[in-house]
Amino acid sequence: MSFMSRTGILASAGVAAMLAASPAAAQIEIQWWHAMTGANNEVVNKLAADFNAAQKDYKVVATYKGSYPDTMNAGIAAFRAGNAPHILQVFEVGTATMMGARGAIKPVAEMMKEAGEAFDPKAYLPAVSGYYSTAKGELLSFPFNSSSTVMWYNKDAFRKAGLDPENPPKTWPETFEAAKKLQANGHPNCGMATAWVTWVNIEQFSVWHNVPLATKANGIDGFDTELKINSPLHVKHLENLVEHQKTKVYDYAGRTNTGEGRFTSGECPIMITSSGFYGNVKANAKFDWANAPMPYYPDVPGAPQNSTLGGASLWVMGGKKADEYKGVAKFFAFLSDTDRQAKLHTDSGYLPITKAAYEKVKASGFYKENPYLETPIKELTNKEPTENSRGLRLGNLVQIRDIWAEEIESALAGKKSAKAALDAAVERGNQQLRQFERTVSR
């Protein structure tokens, strides 16, 4: 058919264009699939371009593959079809899935060693590298963009409500009190809000209070883990949110971060969300602002503990040639460079991953002017991590988060009691965990 031959021609034209576009054949191409958009997409492109300019043997090709779930799916589909990229960026909730697929990945520590690239696991901030390591401490994936949860607040609104902007609330009861005052002084629809509802109110909440999110060290010590999020502390917290939702002292802002604009617009004077919100706040908030550590309940012994990460890491896919792994190892060494890490940190607002980079930025006096970038690091390193605060590793976490959010929404809408909602969240979440356990443990 004429149509077929036409597309045939188009296809061969496309192939010819591709051949013409590829440079000197001796270079080894390293495919890097990522999910970075906006300003961070440029950061990724620049890192690849700088690496390519710095040496001749390898060429890193960075390709945007959609949102975090889309990128992960693309990587998995490509692996099943036999053409996985070398480097795949996977968000933190996909960590357990990637770990469960030992046959599909190449542990970073092992690759660095084989490639003879200098690699000292101790050079990395333990709170960061610990999240992506096995229970024995072997680094599996390379931390790339990391953030933690902080409380952003509107200093102008604090002044107006007679609150001290230099002394933000430290505990949940204080925060709710502050939100009440703020609500009475010009913020009728929202005294405070949280974005990423489950990450903030369940995951980070548990870690920060040193209470288990799930058994087996939150899943790090084994896939046969069970959820613990219906403890009295969790129930009390959700009850508080439900009560304040009624009067809009607390206002639900959705499962993701689409509600963050309510902070920069001035509507919600307190927003608890990712430290990565920094770039947006800096560019769009037309008022005096600051951030502070997450609140905690003062009657919980040991609180606050330390916080854990959000963000994504770079996984190296299995089944590639030794030469190619050498290139990937070189690229990771390039990324770990102290100056580069320091610059990445100050430019993007993501956390530094090496101790040296953190020390360097600290010594430069940068945090004096930008204390907001240090808050999440202080949280992460607040105390030596315990079994409950090293991190979390739950399979099917995307679905589990959706289930949690559904149940929290039921409670906030008044359809269920907080206790009933969290009980259901545990029961339905455990079903997901059992199913994951079954598929990976064979």
């Binding site: 599909a104 639900y252 689409t258 906030l412 598929t439």
Partner: protein
């Protein structure tokens, strides 16, 4: 529903069908059969281990209360979207078909929204209807609506019905318009001379003559609401709050993404396929009898 006058040919009809059949078999039946096979397996995302489990995925599926909720949501959602998108489009098409000045401009403006990429449309819906950031949410609150699709299931359902209807109105409008153009003027003129008013002409002549187009659009719209709305739902409500906008196809998408539950997701696709095949077969067998060719 067969033509009286037809050609007879041995090889020719097969040649004509060949391109469509070839593409259909390679890019539809082959992958679809793999989806069916997948529904009998328990497998990890990477395909590193698999186990044949028979009907277990189906049994698990039908034990979930959420699945029945999704079925109810789907029924409500699809009937609302189908009804609104077809009737609004038909109303607009009959008006735009009149010989009025500026009809061309109206037609362009009515088809234009179809050109908004779904990737962008999701963002626009948030710009409009986010309970506090939305351009339209403010006026709605002033008018006394307690608009909160983040927590109120009814509001959320209204929002996804609106977004899905909006997308399909332009599509249906275009084909209704094409169908109206094909109705011979002379028939309508004859009726007008006989003294039939516009409404009467519409119901006795235009609507029956339009029935082949309407039949096509009913089939296509049902397929649309069943299958192609998960993108909108994902962007606008993410299936929430508390699953009140989770339709069957959205569940396929959300359970299957991240490969968390390939088998269960495939089983849901199969159930969905069976339902829509049944619906379409019913339409071809019963509804089509009332279509006037």
């Amino acid at each position: 529903m067969d033509k009286r006058a037809i050609f007879s040919g041995k090889a020719l009809p097969y040649m004509l069908l060949l391109p469509q059949l070839a593409i259909t078999i390679i890019f539809f039946y082959w992958p679809a059969s793999q989806a069916v096979w997948q529904s009998f397996l328990l497998e990890d995302a990477f395909g590193l281990s698999r186990e044949f489990v028979g009907f277990e995925n189906y049994r698990t599926l039908f034990q979930q209360r959420e699945y029945y909720d999704a079925m109810v949501n789907t029924a409500v959602f699809s009937s609302l979207v189908a009804f609104f998108s077809l009737s609004i489009a038909l109303l607009l098409a009959t008006q735009a078909d009149k010989n009025i000045r500026g009809a061309h401009g109206f037609k362009t403006l009515l088809i234009w929204p179809y050109a908004v990429a779904p990737a962008v449309a999701g963002v626009l819906w948030i710009f409009m209807f986010h309970p506090s950031l939305g351009t339209l949410a403010g006026p709605m609150r002033v008018m006394g609506f307690d608009w909160n699709p983040l927590l109120d299931g009814g509001d959320a359902l209204a929002l996804v019905v609106m977004s899905a209807t909006w997308k399909q109105v332009s599509y249906n409008f275009l084909f209704f318009l094409a169908g109206l153009q094909a109705i011979p003027r002379s028939v309508l003129e004859a009726a007008a001379i006989d003294g039939a008013g516009p409404l009467r002409r519409f119901w006795t002549i235009t609507f029956p003559l339009l029935s082949p187009t309407t039949f096509f659009l009913v089939v296509v719209t049902i397929v649309y609401v069943f299958f192609e709305t998960f993108g909108i739902i994902d962007a606008v409500t993410g299936g929430g709050p508390s699953g009140s906008t989770t339709t069957m196809v959205y569940k396929v998408y959300s359970d299957g993404r991240l490969g968390g539950d390939l088998g269960g997701s495939a089983a849901q696709s199969v159930v969905l396929m069976v339902i829509v095949i049944a619906l379409t077969a019913i339409q071809f067998r019963y509804v089509e009898r009332r279509v006037q060719y």
